[in-house]
């Protein structure tokens, strides 16, 4: 990997980090969120596994754990894994050489998808 590509990758990683911090800050100011409406909820009228994640993050940032769990428990449970994945990816992006995404156990990903599917069914049956 050339220096130019590495510099570009580092710049992108920094931009994503700053963007993430800005999104979190904005969610503290505007907790209702500013993302577009979930297309699945908009057209099918059902809650997808991600519905409520933005508001759950806003609640977490305000220290309202129980409210975050009520809004999207799956997101709250998976958030530490997501943050860990992002942190490892960021560290790798800073290093010279070929970039590789952190390897995640394939069975683990399928298990999470299965849990997400069960979670979706459960939250729509309430």
């Amino acid at each position: 990997m050339g220096d130019v590509a590495w510099q570009r990758r580092r710049w992108l990683a920094h931009a994503l980090l700053v963007g993430g911090v800005l999104v979190c800050a904005a969610l503290v100011i505007w907790p209702a969120g500013f993302f577009p409406a979930c297309p699945i909820h908009l057209w099918l009228g059902i809650e997808c596994p991600g519905c409520g994640a933005t508001r759950a993050l806003a609640a977490l940032l305000r220290g309202r754990w129980m409210e975050a769990m009520r809004l999207n428990a799956l997101f709250v449970v998976l958030l530490p894994c997501g943050v860990g994945f992002a942190a490892v990816s960021y560290r790798r992006a800073m290093r010279a050489g070929e970039f590789g995404w952190p390897r995640v156990h394939e069975g683990g990903v399928y298990a999470v998808l299965a849990v997400a599917a069960a979670f979706t069914v459960a939250r729509n049956l309430r």
Binding site: W30, L78, G100
Partner: protein, 250 residues
């Protein structure tokens, strides 16, 4: 028209002319293999049939072996694929290799915003390895339209005080602007065009310069787009990784 292929007295098929072209590009069918359709009187070399059908054989650069890769959508010939020098594996940049399951989860938790970004990443890679790809143009257009859709969504500052949602002043949508709906429709139309453009580029690349005999389902492309592409790219990356190991071991 369907063709049967004959090699060493064994009969394979039937295959369509497109299948034959793809198998020849991937090296599974040789130009010297004999083929015959029901309408033909005699067995004819495949190279001659494809030449006569107006098809030019895509240039086959040294690629990597893909033995046993179950390309979906068609039944691969049951005879062994030839081995390609592993040295050709590094000729093209690997596709972004984030697990398709993670892409799906990230898309869920970001109201599909991640999917828009990831599609741009995939299309950008596609443009680098297959310069005639136009998918990046359509995906970029869809992303611009998405931003416009958000801009044209009227927001209002309201005060909420319901139990459990007492945040004070928040921004909220207060209605659907007609232009917003029109742009929303445009986003989806352009996204569908982008998906099929990406599919064409992927098939062109992975049946030409990097011949693995990739065939992508039109229905799966329509419904799953980037997730479906990522699934196949993960598998192709795995093949390339194995080929590198083989090359290193030789």
């Amino acid at each position: 028209m369907l063709y049967h292929v004959m090699r060493n007295g064994q009969n394979y098929g039937p295959y369509t002319i497109e299948d034959l072209r793809r198998y020849m590009a991937s090296g599974n069918v040789l130009p010297s293999d004999l083929a015959k359709s029901d309408e033909m009187a005699e067995w004819t070399p495949v190279g001659q049939i494809l030449g006569g059908a107006g098809g030019q054989q895509p240039p086959v650069a040294p690629g990597y072996a893909a033995p046993g890769y179950p390309a979906p959508g068609y039944a691969a010939p049951s005879y062994a694929a030839p081995s390609y020098p592993a040295g050709g594996v590094g000729a093209y940049e690997d596709a972004p290799n984030l697990s398709w399951g993670l892409v799906l989860l990230f898309a869920f938790f970001t109201c599909s915003v991640f999917m828009f970004v990831w599609n741009l990443v995939l299309a950008s890679w596609m443009k680098r390895v297959q310069p005639n790809s136009t998918a990046i143009f359509y995906y970029a257009t869809a992303t611009v339209l998405l931003v416009l859709q958000i801009v044209f969504t009227p927001h209002v500052l309201i005060h909420t005080g319901e139990p459990g949602y007492n945040y004070g002043w928040v921004w909220a949508y207060y209605g659907a602007h007609p232009l917003r709906n029109l742009i929303g429709l445009g986003v989806w139309v352009v996204r569908i065009i982008a998906r099929y453009s990406m599919r064409a580029s992927l098939e062109e690349h992975f049946n030409g310069p990097e011949p693995v005999g990739l065939s992508l389902s039109g229905v799966m492309t329509f419904f799953f787009g980037g997730i479906y592409f990522q699934y196949h790219l993960n598998r192709i990356n795995e093949l390339k990784r194995m080929a590198r190991y083989r090359g290193a071991a030789i």
